[in-house]
Symmetry: C2
Subunit: 215 residues, 2 copies
Amino acid sequence: MSTEAPQEAVTLAQFLDSIAAPSATPGGGSVSALAGSLAAALVEMVINLTVGKKGFEGKEPELQKIREEAHSCREALTATIVQDSLAYQTVMNAFLLPRKTEDEKSKRKEEIQQALKKAADPPLFTTVTSLKVMKLCQEAVEKGNPRTISDAAVGALLADAAMGGGIFNVLINLSALEDQHFAERMKKELRRLEAEGATMKNIILARIQEKINCR
Amino acid sequence: MSTEAPQEAVTLAQFLDSIAAPSATPGGGSVSALAGSLAAALVEMVINLTVGKKGFEGKEPELQKIREEAHSCREALTATIVQDSLAYQTVMNAFLLPRKTEDEKSKRKEEIQQALKKAADPPLFTTVTSLKVMKLCQEAVEKGNPRTISDAAVGALLADAAMGGGIFNVLINLSALEDQHFAERMKKELRRLEAEGATMKNIILARIQEKINCR
């Protein structure tokens, strides 16, 4: 896939082929963003199969709020599929800069470090936004049509994978970074997000297990 | 998305829209199969970025074997995206059968039970095949180019989500099934697969953490 191609024009089969292809992008960062998008779409599905159904009268305003938030997360995460690839290409371009003179070496090193810092942004965004999606999955489980419980469950699993994938992709950039202060601050933030996501995932899955066993 | 449409013709954006739409298919079962497909594509990517690289001379035969297996899992899981939807539609159609006379009621009940059993096949296939993909992720982590470690990591996370999603989708079908003998046998098999997947995921992620920290 050309990362400049509009997302709409890429078919599922082409996207899978472009992941498998022998090029560094799109890779795990883009797939993580897509996983978050799929989770958000599942939240929208749950709400769409709840609004207007018997037993959910008068719940429209809060259900619509969940759906709107999920839709906005989905759009942002879908855009991140390409942004992640572009950010990583900037890193690769920096590595290709000339390094014959001392000046060139110093400029190249600086460009690489700058690019690495920027390349951490898309996977960090994927992590933060997928945590939001996880919270929306919890709302979908609590407030949605019980018939859609397995869809909300898959949403939570995908949001979790998206968060984990985002975290690995930030960490891999940090491991090559010289600014230890920046790296440590970022790692602390990642640990916080990871812990919050894990707690929420466990709450959601326990609730779903409970509901499935009660059917 | 029309579930009869060839997979190749469905764009990423259309697929996401079809998940979000107020229809029961495609839903969590199809998304789980796609998650497994994405994981398999990431294994192929890792191998494609390893074969022919310095330090991997003479490893072609074993690397190509991993890639071929990953490709075959990807194709099978991609086909399951549609098969899952079709199997669930058969369940929904059975629920729509007439139920005025005793004969009709009895026939409808039998059709529903048959359809529920068959609808467990695609998510069970997703679970079993995603466990294979998880094993391929482990091989990719051990034998692949260290530069692709975060791609293999995302592969393992997605394979895990695909397995979990498959399991939830089988369970939801079993919960409406009257054949308790069948349901118990299936649940036992799911627990075995789940335990094997969880052990393998933990081994892979611990190995990746170790490798990232050593960079």
